[in-house]
Every structure is written in structure tokens, then in C-alpha cells.
Amino acid sequence: MTAYLDIILVALILSDFILLGSGRLGNCIRIAAWQGIMVGLLPIATADAGFSFRIAALGIAVVVLKGFVFPRLLNRAIRESASSREVKPFVGYTTSLLAGVLALSASFWLDGRLSFPLHLESAIVVPVSLSMMFTGLFLVVARRTAVNQVIGYLVLENGIYALSLAIVRDVPFLVELGVLMDMFVAVFVMGIAIYRINMEFDHMDSNRLAKLRG
């Protein structure tokens, strides 16, 4: 099963790269959806011994939420706000990619420094999830539109989820569902917020909210 796990992890990194280098919101949402599906498949790939109903249910819930529900909400937010479909980065795409590579190298280095006292399914699961967290944070910081910031949060959460899978073999079911609910609410609120920002200001550029300062 390790081979599948590694392939999924590498695909996760690649999706990070695409997110960093992509200029269209629609693309970003689609990639984030794929990433959600892959993360959802992770517990199924890690469960080499006991493939229980619990794990399957959790996987399916994650896949459905992150792969289908969230993207829908985001897409609707874009459609209803009828704003520009561009990412509008603060940091250019090539520089973002470079930052992604640096984040990846840094997380592999960090992983060499931190030694987890437990048996891991794959040699790269910890650094990959660390780099996903860094990338998510970077996306939140370096992108202008609110939708993209939501995507950044999603990537960050995916990273946390993957890391928790790696470290705590049996994810407490309820805790995980709680996190999912949090994300759901977050996306929901963001969606409404995007809609409101757009209604009020005719754009959804979160940077321009700075004008609201007294």
C-alpha cells in the first residue's frame, strides 16, 4: 500500500504547485477539489491492516465535502458575485512557485530535524503535510481575492488532516468530524462574506477592505 500512499502524496505536492502557478480562480477551485478528494482517499490508502467501516465513512465524508460541496459553494460565490476570474496575486506566479519549492525543501529539512518516535507508513508523509501547510499559509498571505484565501485555508486544513493521519493513526472520529464542520462553516461564512463584499463594493478584493479603516 505504501506505493499508492506515496503516489497520492506526490500528487498532493503537484497540486500545490499548480495552485501556486495557476492564474484562474476556476482552475484553483478545481485543483483544490481534487486535492480534497486525494486527501479523503489517504486514510483508505494507509489502512493496510484493518479496513473498517469507520475509516471508509470518514473518507467518504471528506471526499464528498471537500471534493464536491466546498467547490460548489465557492463556484457559486464567484458566479453570484460575477467578478473577475483572475487570482490577482501579490506575489508573481514564478516567485510563488519558487516559494513553494523552498517551502518543500524547508519541510524536508524540518522533518530531518524533528524525529517522530513512531512508525510511519511512508517516509514522506510528514514533510509533505508540512509543505502543504506552508503552501496554504502562503496562498492566504499572497493572494488578493477572498475566494483564493478560502482555498488557502482549505490547503492548510488538508495539510493538518494529512499530518494528523500520519501521527495519530486512529483519528478520533468525532474530532475529525468537528474539524470538517468547522471548515464547512468557514467556507459557508466566507461565501456569504464574499457575496456581501461584492454587494457592497462591487468587487471581492479583500485588499481593498483596508479602506474601511476609520
Binding site: 508573481g92 514564478t94 516567485t95 530531518g112
Partner: protein, 664 residues
């Protein structure tokens, strides 16, 4: 014997400097005597260097000279010989070039005796730096070199930018010298400044000593961020002087760095990492800034920063090889750096001399004013082409030899390094070298293509004529040298092998140089075979092609202009537009300013595009720093009041305070 020759050579340079200096006004005599003395001195010195390479190192023993801390001692070992060799060869060729190149200045009534005096002092200073065996003597040579080159930069002092450039150079070089002085006071705390007696009393100071050496010698070598004087001083000096400065003088910085870190004991890993990082930064920043310049000599100066970066990366790999215990990487890294030292001195001086020929023929160095020169100056053009191919590191010319060896070092690190130890520096070096190679290609196709190909963009370029024989000869000689050193790359490995052996032994990590050298030699020999067969095949194919076309109609027509009837030279791509995609991509780091005049109105007539890249390091770091310091020191003006009695009072107070401190 070797030492005698070196002394004779040094004395010749001294005479070549002093005689014109005392015969000021007799410009005609100096114009003959200066270059003759220089070439003679170089020839004698070269004989000494070759003898030392054949029969081993030589030392003069100590000669008492009255100065404190040790004796006047010169000597030559493989490291000295390696750096003295290009000094002598390139200086002589540039002196020859100067005979023709300086004619327009002489015709304008400039006093040539001053020029030749300082030129001989410069060569003598550089030779003294490489052969000195006493820190004080080394400093003497270092200062003679710095001051002579300062006055040579100032040769055309009538122009304001030249004076500014010369000041920047003077300040930079003395800030470097200050660090070197501190370094010597640390190394010489044992009492003697002879090289045999230099050592660090306390190993814990080695890190500080390394940083001082890196800053002090790195300023002369032109590592980023200490490079700011290069793009100012090199374009301002006469071209043959820029060729010497850029081709060989900056290498004395590398020499000094190596010579003095040898006294600091086995290198910790962070030294290698620092050199690798500084080299990478210099290389990438240097080539990017070179790419965005449109003034030929300024561009060449930045490209020197890039090449120093490549040398620094090679040295960094070598040091890391020692620290991590990877002998092959240590050997190949150092060997790549030294090969590049030799090769760069040849092709960079070639390019600067060609740039000088262009300036004499057209009156400008702005690429956007040139064009079509290959037809008007075929020899200069072919030489510039050779230099450009060489500097891009392409076979069959010599730039390729050092870069291939550096690549081999990096790949060896990946291959052998346990864990991430050798792999990480290796992959960083590979990525950096590859990026630099591609950008250098962009940079020099731009320079060659815009200046020499197409149609002339200005009347000056249109009326250019091929230069005088004395200028063509060094160009041809250096081009041939580029080709020979490229095809015979494996022979050069034998030249640098003893130097690497000396270095690695000096660092306490003896490497079986013979084995690694034979590996590098075999790769380079295969590469030479490949290059020769490519050349032969190209000639064959050209022959077939000409036979094929012999019986066909080969007509000449204007260049295809998409149906536009009256094409003009001003419609050609310019240097700015050629470099725009790349400078745009790296724009945020470069700070390139773009001036775009869009066509407007119903009958648009004038439109234009140009870009201009100031040195980001100067603008964002040094200018704020120095203005801040100026503001700070202005506060001290209060004590500069001009009243002598108060000055005397302050001296008395200071003396009293010192006495109290010493006695109390």
C-alpha cells in the same frame, strides 16, 4: 634561477613605471618605452613562472629590508604560478593592444607617459601580489596595484562620470584593504609577518578571520554585494586597462582569499556553504544585471561578476568536499574553479579588447547604436564571436572546460555524498550553473547579435572601419588561445593538478590528485574528440552544401519584412527589446525601468522603447548607507571649527588621557 628571473621582471616593471614618470612630457618616448618594458618584463617573468612549473617551487629565502616584522621574501609555488601566468600573458597582450588603442588619445594631446607608467606599475603590483612571501610585501603590491589601477581608471579624468567611478573604486578597494589589514593583524599576532610564520594563535577566531578575508578579498574579486565598483570602474577605464582589470586583476582577490585561508586550518562546513552561496548569488545576480545592461563594457563588467561567481561556486564545492570528506568533489570543485580562472582571463580580456576596438571604430559603446559591424570589422567581429561562445561555456572554446569540471564536481557530490551532505550543495550548484548558462547565452547572443549583426543603427556604426594591426593581433592571439585551451582542455588539468594538491594538503585533507585528475582528463578528452568531430562534420556538411548549391540559383534579396515595402534599420529588434522577456520575468528583483513611448494620434510617427537597469545593490543598500553615514558624520562638524589653539588643546587632552590610561 626562477627567483632571479622574477626579480628581474619586477625590476623591469619598476623601471617601466619610473622612467616614463620622470620623463613626463616626452610622450613619444614613453609610447615606445612603456609597452616594450611591459612586454619584456612579462616575457622574463613568464620564463620564471614556466620554470617553476617545470622544476618545482622556489623561495628566495629572507632578505632583510629594514621594515619591521619579517623580511622581504618572494617565492613561487603552484598557487602563485597559476595566478601569475595569466597576469603576465594578458598584460603583455593588452600592452600591445594599447599601442594602437591609445593612438586617438595621443592624437588629442594626452600625455601618454603617465598612462604607461601606471600600466607598468599595475602589472608589477599584480606580479608582486602573487609572489610575495611576506604580508607587508603583499600589502605593498596590493596597494601599488590598487592605486595604479585607480589612476588608470582616472585616465580620462575630464569627464565627470569617470571621476565618480574612480572615487567609488578607490573607496571600495580601501574598505577591502581595511579588512585585509585587520586579517593580517590577526594572523601575524605571533610577531612575524613572513608567510612561514603566519598562523592563528586561537582557533576560535578562525571564523572571524574567514569573514574578514571574504569581505576584504571579495571586494577586489567582485563578489555580490561587494561588486558595486566593477560596473563603474571597468567601463570608465581605457579598454585595454579594463581588460587587465577584469581579466586578471580581480583574480588576485581569489588568490588572496585562498592564500590566507590556508593559514586558518581545516575548513568547517559553513565556509564552503558561504562561498557556494556567495558564488551563486554573484553568478545569478551578475548575469541578470549583465543581461539588462545595454552599454557594452558595463555589461562585460557585470558578466565578470557572474564568472567570479562560478569560480566562487567551484571553490565552495571544493571546500565542502573537504569538510564532508568527499575527495572527488574536493578535487573537481577546486580544479573547475582554477580552470575557470585561467579561461576567464583569456576570454574576458578578449571581449574587453574587442569592445575597445568597437568604441574606437564607431565612437559609441551603446548596443542600440551599433549593428552590422561584422561586415565592416570582420576580424574584431570574429574575435568577439569567439569570446562570446567561450564565455557562454560552449564547446569547442575554453569557457566550457572549467564549467564542465564544476558540473562534474556537483554531480559527483550527488552521486557519492552520503545522505544529504554532498547532494544538497551538488544540486544547488547544478541548478545555479544551469540557470547562469542559459542566461549567459541570452546575454551574449544579445551583445553579439545586436552589435555585429543586422544593419547599422547609427551613422557611426555604418562608417566603422577595421582597426589597426596592433589591435587586431592580440584579438586573434586571444581567440586562438580560446580555441586551443578549449580543445586541449585535458592538458590544462595537468596544470591545475599540483595547485589542488597543494590546497588540499594545506587544508589537512590530502587527496589522491592523480586518480581524480585522470578522470577529469578522460572526460575532457572525450569532449575534445566530440568537439573536433563536430567541427569536421560541419565543415564536411558545408562543403556538401556548397556543391549542392553550385548548380542552383542562389539569389540575394532583402530580408523578408512581411510585405512591408520600405524597411529601415530602426525597425530591427534592439538590445532592450531582445532582453525584455527575461528582464520582465526577473523584473521585481532587478528594478528595471521601462520607458515606453507608445505611438499615438491619427498619423503616429514617433514611438520608442528602452529599458534601463540601475544597480539594485547600489541604489537600495549603499546609497542609503552612505547618505546615512554622511548625515551622522556631519554632526561631528562641530569639532571641525578651525581654531588652532582648540585643536592643540584636544591633542593635549587626548595625550593626557592616554597617559592616564596607560599608567593608571
Amino acid at each position: 634561477m626562477t627567483i632571479t628571473l622574477l626579480f628581474i621582471s619586477l625590476c623591469t616593471f619598476l623601471a617601466g613605471g619610473l622612467v616614463p614618470a620622470f620623463l613626463r612630457g616626452n610622450s613619444r618616448f614613453s609610447r615606445v618605452f612603456g609597452p616594450v618594458a611591459n612586454v619584456a618584463g612579462c616575457a622574463v617573468g613568464l620564463l620564471g613562472v614556466v620554470l617553476s612549473m617545470l622544476y618545482g617551487p622556489a623561495e628566495s629565502g629572507s632578505i632583510h629590508w629594514g621594515a619591521p616584522s619579517g623580511s622581504m621574501a618572494v617565492g613561487i609555488d603552484p598557487l602563485s604560478a597559476l595566478f601569475a601566468l595569466p597576469v603576465l600573458v594578458i598584460s603583455a597582450l593588452c600592452a600591445l593592444h594599447g599601442c594602437g588603442y591609445m593612438k586617438p588619445y595621443a592624437a588629442k594631446g594626452k600625455d601618454m607617459s603617465r598612462f604607461w607608467a601606471f600600466y607598468n606599475f599595475l602589472t608589477g603590483g599584480m606580479l608582486l601580489v602573487t609572489v610575495a612571501r611576506n604580508a607587508l610585501l603583499f600589502l605593498l603590491g596590493w596597494e601599488v596595484m590598487a592605486l595604479a589601477s585607480f589612476f588608470l581608471v582616472l585616465f580620462d579624468a575630464g569627464r565627470e562620470p569617470v571621476r565618480r567611478a574612480a572615487w567609488i573604486y578607490l573607496v571600495a578597494t580601501h574598505l577591502g584593504t581595511a579588512c585585509i589589514l585587520l586579517l593580517f593583524s590577526m594572523l601575524g599576532s605571533g610577531g612575524s609577518l613572513d608567510f612561514t610564520g603566519l598562523s592563528l594563535p586561537d582557533r576560535s577566531w578562525a571564523g572571524a578571520a574567514f569573514v574578514l578575508a571574504l569581505v576584504g578579498f571579495g571586494t577586489k574579486a567582485g563578489f555580490v554585494p561587494f561588486h558595486v565598483w566593477l560596473p563603474e570602474a571597468h567601463p570608465s577605464a581605457p579598454s585595454n586597462v579594463s581588460a587587465v582589470m577584469s581579466g586578471v586583476m580581480i583574480k588576485t582577490g581569489i588568490y588572496g582569499l585562498l592564500r590566507f585561508i590556508l593559514f586558518m586550518g581545516p575548513p568547517p562546513a559553513w565556509w564552503g556553504w558561504t562561498l557556494l552561496g556567495v558564488g551563486l548569488l554573484s553568478g545569478v545576480a551578475g548575469v541578470l544585471m549583465a543581461l539588462s545592461q545595454h552599454e557594452l563594457k558595463r555589461m562585460l563588467a557585470y558578466s565578470s561578476v557572474e564568472n567570479i561567481g562560478i569560480i566562487g561556486m567551484g571553490l565552495g564545492l571544493g571546500l565542502l568536499g573537504i569538510s564532508y570528506g568527499i575527495p572527488a568533489m574536493a578535487f573537481l570543485g577546486f580544479a573547475g574553479a582554477f580552470l575557470h580562472v585561467l579561461n576567464h582571463s583569456v576570454f574576458k580580456s578578449l571581449l574587453f579588447l574587442a569592445a575597445g576596438a568597437i568604441q574606437n571604430a564607431t565612437g559609441t559603446r551603446e548596443l542600440d547604436q551599433l549593428g552590422g559591424l561584422l561586415k565592416r570589422m570582420p576580424v574584431t567581429g570574429a574575435a568577439f564571436l569567439a569570446g562570446s561562445v567561450a564565455i557562454c561555456g560552449l564547446p569547442p572554446l575554453n569557457g566550457f572546460v572549467g564549467e564542465l569540471t564544476a558540473y562534474l564536481a556537483a554531480f559527483t557530490g550527488i552521486q557519492n555524498g552520503a545522505g544529504t551532505q554532498g547532494a544538497l550543495p551538488g544540486i544547488i550548484a547544478i541548478g545555479g550553473l544551469a540557470l547562469m548558462g542559459g542566461l549567459a547565452l541570452a546575454c551574449f547572443t544579445k551583445a553579439f547579435g545586436i552589435a555585429f549583426l543586422g544593419e547599422p543603427r547609427s551613422p557611426g556604426a555604418g562608417s566603422a572601419r577595421e582597426s589597426h594591426f596592433s589591435m587586431r593581433f592580440p584579438l586573434v592571439a586571444l581567440s586562438l588561445l580560446c580555441l586551443l585551451m578549449g580543445l586541449g582542455g585535458w592538458l590544462l588539468v595537468g596544470l591545475v593538478e599540483p595547485v589542488v594538491g597543494m590546497l588540499t594538503t594545506g587544508f589537512g585533507f590530502p587527496v589522491a590528485t592523480g586518480v581524480h585528475a585522470s578522470h577529469a582528463e578522460s572526460t575532457l578528452r572525450y569532449a575534445s574528440i566530440g568537439s573536433v568531430s563536430v567541427i569536421a562534420a560541419v565543415l564536411l556538411l558545408l562543403f556538401v552544401r556548397s556543391r549542392l548549391l553550385a548548380r542552383r540559383s542562389v539569389t540575394t534579396a532583402p530580408t523578408w519584412g512581411c510585405g512591408y515595402g520600405s524597411p529601415e534599420p530602426s525597425m530591427q529588434y534592439t538590445a532592450s527589446s531582445f532582453a525584455d522577456p527575461l528582464t520582465g520575468l526577473f523584473g521585481p528583483a532587478l528594478g528595471t525601468g521601462r520607458n515606453l513611448a507608445s505611438p499615438g494620434g491619427l498619423f503616429p510617427d514617433r514611438a520608442g522603447f528602452s529599458s534601463d537597469t540601475p544597480d539594485a545593490c547600489t541604489d537600495r543598500f549603499y546609497i542609503p548607507l552612505f547618505t546615512g553615514m554622511e548625515r551622522l558624520f556631519k554632526r561631528l562638524r562641530v569639532i571641525q571649527h578651525g581654531r588652532i589653539n582648540l585643536y592643540v588643546l584636544s591633542i593635549v587632552v587626548a595625550l593626557a588621557a592616554l597617559l592616564a590610561w596607560k599608567l593608571g
